[in-house]
Amino acid sequence: MNPTVKTTFSVCTNEIDASCRVPLLALFGGAALWLVAGLALGIGAIMSFHKPDLFADCQFLTFGRSQAAANDLLLYGFCIPAALGVLLWIFSRLSQTPLALPIVPVVAANLWHLGVLIGTIAILTGNSTGHLWLEYPRPAAVLLFAAFLLTAVTAAATFGFRQQRDLFPAHWFLFAALLLFPWIYSTANLFLVSNQVPRGVVQAIIGWWFGNNLIFVWLALAGVGMAFYFLPKIAGKPLGNSGYAITGFLTLLFFGTWAGIPQGAPVPAWMPTLSSVMTALTLVPLIAIALVLWQTIVRNGFKCGGGPFCFIKFGMLCFIASTILYISLACPRYSRVLEFTWFGTAQTQLQLLGFFAMILFGAIYEILPRIMEAPLPFPKAAKAQFWITGLGILLFVVPLAVGGLEQGMKVRDAAVPFADASAVALKFLRVSTTGQLLILLGSLPLVLNLFVMTIRWKVALLKTLISAIKAPLPEAEVKA
């Protein structure tokens, strides 16, 4: 290889990484704090089941409010902004060009975090809209929407300036994610949080459509897109068959976007029927994506030892598991038992934390040392995070799913008193709360690494600044 070419290339990479530093720190920093806040609030919420009168006199932490606020903090506080940061970096890396308009995502990050703050306070003070995953009231929603658009503009501009013309599978997925969110978020808000809301059950239908497209499709697009970039990159081997990748991409979009209307919902029968057929068909993208992963991960036998690759691999395994749970929930036979139980919670949390958050942890640990041009301050803690969080997620999700199944079978049998069915679930909640505590513990290394790196960088900046001020002025300037 020609050595000069190599050096210009690496200079260029450094420049790209440096251009991402400030925007990514703004997105990741706030996201990491929201993650801890959301996990802690989630534990607070579930305490209502262990000790029902704990918050009987505190309206802000009553289960119905804290639970919604905690879930939104995980999704809107952590998952989306952190994913946007990763997406910007992937876009500028793939385009081989520094981030375009780097100030725009910094502004966007601040708007976004402000929106999350307003939304969270609104829910805790009883001003939620009452629609699942759309609890944030209008001012917060406007901020989130604007911030997302700004970030998307930066990503598109960076893509427009690209030096490298090829389009990769990661591009398709991430592009679609950039398009999907503004579409569904504006639709849902215009229909459900405006002054002219549709009457009756149409609200619920639009709510389901939105929830499915956000939690299932959007997270899948963004998460799989990130995984398709990082897995081959870290392993140094190409991504599996791109024919499978494209099949997975197209079928996910064409089938997945129709899922989400529950069986037996009080709506005209064609909706749940169509929706459950489409959900069953999401087996196609699931298999296609699983095949690509198989070719990328298993065939090349890369040993990750708790590093970013491990996080992302674990995340993709959770994606497969969570999609299978999702499909089973839409299957009329099983949904009769599983509907309205903790099983649904297990599926959502697996999707949010097991799949998406884990991929983000891996991606952030992979990106941080590059944009900061320094190694992680606590690499051991980062490795520990993998094991602690991984175990935490299993302990959180598996008991909830099993407990939900048992609860569902009891509720279905009208001879069993309802209180007995709830009591069964309670037993499993005791274990799953331990899992939540572990996940919270596991998130601390991320915050620690991120903030120590940020502080060190700021201190270094300050030092350069001070030494620049203190340095004797060059002769020429003194005279002038």
Binding site: A56, R65, Q67, W183, L253, P266
Partner: protein, 294 residues
Amino acid sequence: MKTGIGVFIAAVAAIGLSWCGLVLGPQLQLGGEGITTVLNSTDEYPLQPTGAENLGQQVYRANGCAACHTEQVRQTGVTCELTLTSLGVYKAADFTAFARSLFVLPELAKYTNALADAINGWNGDMPKTILTTPDKTIVEEMANRLKAVGVKFDLRILATGPDISRGWGSRQSVAADYLYAQPVQLGNLRAGPDLANVGVRKPDMNWQLIHLYAPKAVDSSSTMPPFRYLFELRKIGSTPSPDALKLPSEFAPAQGYEVVPTTDAKNLAAYLASLKATVPLYEAPFTPVIAAKP
């Protein structure tokens, strides 16, 4: 997929299709839906909620009651029930003999055992349910035979399913039930019972208020969190408040104090007491126990 345009078009097409199907479609089909009428009647359904009920629904939303409660009843099917009310000129024994003579009918073959169980050793007590089956034609066939011999009976259509057996409703919830709900909060977890018909089960406002203040006061095994912040604990002034809760001694406040519901609590109780879908509709038929109109 070599160019960005291809990806863009594919994504727009896919999202657009589902948008048309699940946002625009339902809006066109259901958005214009208004008040319907009760099955076999001219009564309008649903009734416009009162101001307090509407405000109560906002309290329900603000406190996230839907995190633990659904407001949608499921049903798995319908069944027809044939109940004798008068044998006319027959004696019980005569009727039994007559019923046995019907056993030879080929279409009744599947039901002879059940019928035999119902009438064997029957002493003529009324009303007497003799046939329960989802098969409407059989019941009608049987009804015609009974009519021919002057026996009087009730033919009822009943919704079935675990929710119905639990007493959570007399039929499944349908779109018409939510016409005035704002926001519609169907809920997706049943940590507590379904509330679509809680107004039928618990029409008493005082029960609702006491339950909200201290769920354990009405059900010692309850795991529902108390909502004490919706109540005011205050010193009894010159005249005790007429609204003060009458709590069992375990849950009663200290001597000289009373627990008074806030407006929010009262509205919420009004909303809960208003939750009932007791009338049959075209899309969800059943025979009410007490007819909608006497």
